[in-house]
């Protein structure tokens, strides 16, 4: 995000804001670690485009509103919870922003663990799988699809009750709901983790929870094996997309022969190209996981 507001801008706009530290930023959002009403929380600040950009401002507002709405209803520990700051808009240095807070989760994003090259144990891989599918179960219960499950959006917390927590429902899709992406726009999401069907022009017709199961499967595969099953380092994204659409990924057991066959087959099944060949829903995965264990 360009035009990240300064800590002073934020302090003057948000009452009870204590210490603040920038963490990261994405396309239209910046995240800070902040003291809010005496608690450490993740402050999220969204840049709102000027009103003359037709529809863009409303679209972003609606997305954030949806994210807040969904997080507010979630009842699982495996999804990040809302913080104390309710959504508010403010202006700083001539730009309009929307701010709200989520709980702050100390820990590392799973992508950082992958980059460190540490080979996780079977128990840790199972734990990630279980947390992801529990989170998806809750998102599904609320009639949504996450659409951006990836190792960057999962925090390894080292808290026994919730070892992995899914973040960022910013592009969650409400089934049978209002469209929040511009007509004709491509699917939002991160290409490396997007299910093959989402690259189709009619992707909204085929979108269901199995697309999230695919993304979760790719994330678990990458975490377990240390490499993405289809992307190759240094290659351009179009080649990767071709692989996602056409190439059969290697079987997980070839990269992690120490993991049980049955578990490897479960992850391989999550990343099948045809949704009908994946698990029907996250509960089906969890049920088979419990049977296997």
């Amino acid at each position: 995000m360009d035009q990240i507001p300064s800590p002073d801008d934020l302090r003057s706009a948000i009452p009870d804001l204590g210490e603040i530290e920038f963490i990261a930023s994405g396309g239209f959002k910046a995240v800070f670690r902040a003291e809010l009403s005496g608690r450490r929380e993740a402050l999220k600040v969204v840049l709102l485009p000027p009103g003359e950009e037709e529809g863009a401002r409303e679209q972003i507002l609606a997305r954030v509103q949806r994210e807040i709405e969904v997080l507010g209803m979630c009842q699982t520990p495996y999804l990040v919870k809302l913080g104390s700051l309710q959504a508010m808009t403010f202006t700083a240095s001539g730009h309009e922003y929307l701010a709200y807070s989520e709980e702050f989760l100390p820990g590392d994003p799973v992508i950082d663990l992958i980059k460190k090259g540490l080979q996780p144990s079977f128990e840790t891989v199972v734990s990630l799988s279980r947390c992801l599918m529990e989170a998806l179960t809750e998102i599904m219960r609320l009639g949504h699809i996450h659409r951006d499950v990836k190792p960057h959006n999962v925090i390894a917390t080292e808290v026994a009750e919730r070892p992995f927590v899914v973040l960022d429902l910013g592009i969650a899709f409400k089934l049978q709901g209002t469209e929040l992406t511009a007509p004709g726009a491509g699917p939002p999401g991160t290409a490396l983790y997007m299910a093959p069907e989402l690259f189709r022009p009619n992707y909204k017709d085929v979108l269901d929870i199995r697309s999230d199961i695919y993304s979760a499967g790719i994330s678990v595969f990458e975490f377990a094996a240390g490499v993405h099953p289809l992307a190759r380092r240094g290659e351009d994204i179009h080649t990767t997309i071709y692989r996602i659409l056409k190439q059969t990924p290697p079987k997980l057991e070839t990269l992690r022969p120490d993991l049980p066959d049955w578990f490897c087959r479960m992850i391989d099944r999550c990343i099948k190209k045809t949704p009908a060949l994946r698990f029907r829903d996250p509960q089906a995965f969890l049920s088979e996981l419990e049977n296997g264990i």
Binding site: E197, V206, D208, R210, T248, R269, K272, K273, T274, P275, A276, L277, R280, A284
Partner: protein, 396 residues
Amino acid sequence: MKVFAQHGHQPSDKITRGLEEGAIDGVIFSSRYLNPDKVQEKLDDAYLANPAAEILIDSEFYASRLKGTPNSQLGYLERQSYLKTYRRRDLVRTEVVERALREVYQSVRYLPVTAHIAPNIYVSQSFDSMEAGIALNFIERAKSVFGDSKKPVYATLAVDRRALLSPSDFLSFLNDVTALGTAPEGFYLLVGGGSITERSDLVQSEIMDANVLGGWMMINFSLAQNGFKVINGFADVLTPFLSAAGATACATGWWSNLRTFSMGRYVKPEGAGGQLPIVRYLSKLLLNRLRIDELSYAAVVPGIINGLSSDDEYLNGIPGRTTEALQTWEALSSLNSNVSDQLEVSLANLLDLIAQAYTAYSTLTTYGITAGYETATEYLDQLSGGIEVFRRLAEI
């Protein structure tokens, strides 16, 4: 991996003996050949033969499209009030679909079947069609209409082979079916060939096609992966292939029109009819049927005789039709022993069976027995090709 009888014309004692002798695990009764006044009696006979038998009735609702056509041959279906002429534009309406489902349910709800087969239309061309949309609606509503019986419900999915030749359309349909909110316990799957409006002798060769077999296996596989039971009607010698892909049961009968499905079976034959087909023997080794005189080939390839209990009656003269049916079911059950819980093992076993059949045919040619060699090996090519197509579709 069960074997069921596909009920049809002239059942005599075939089904009861099949059940008594353990050659079959159940039966799919045909409403076309089931006298409505004697249904209870027929079902009782089946239970008496084997109290554990699975008993189902196919309403053959898909034959509705032939109702009222001058050359149709619908048998007892003519007495079923649910069999009506429907216009396609009416069937797109959910209330019409629900009414059709209810009418079939009313006709079977008090019968002592072990599970219900919910009706559907026949998808005659493509999965990217209005027919496919209607079929999906029938499947989605099946459980809610039939569900109060507390018995398992199998939704019919009856498709023409041509629908399996466009993988993208048919995979999209599978994606939709496996995502339905209200789903039945299983599916009664029919894959048909030939013409819809006339009788055809080409049905078997049309079904014995690599793409059709691969697609048929894929439907079984994806449905089974999603926890559905799949009963394949008119599967005959494809039984071990469909079982390997995840089928719960496969059915076959004693006439050729009970071994491969065609909508043409509901059309009167031209002319006065022909001779009855001769009695044949299903050889496990050849994965094919032989005439009685061809059993003498066992002198050079002993393996063409199955070594099963029903062989004796063949070796002592020309057996009756009941024996022929029992022999088919026994051979298919035995072929199913090549199917394992592990898909890769099953597919490897099936490829071994095909290779053994090639070898047997080649051995016969070295003894100068060349009749039918090309047809037989072409047929085996299609079977092995079907496994390859299936592997590709199932991403194995």
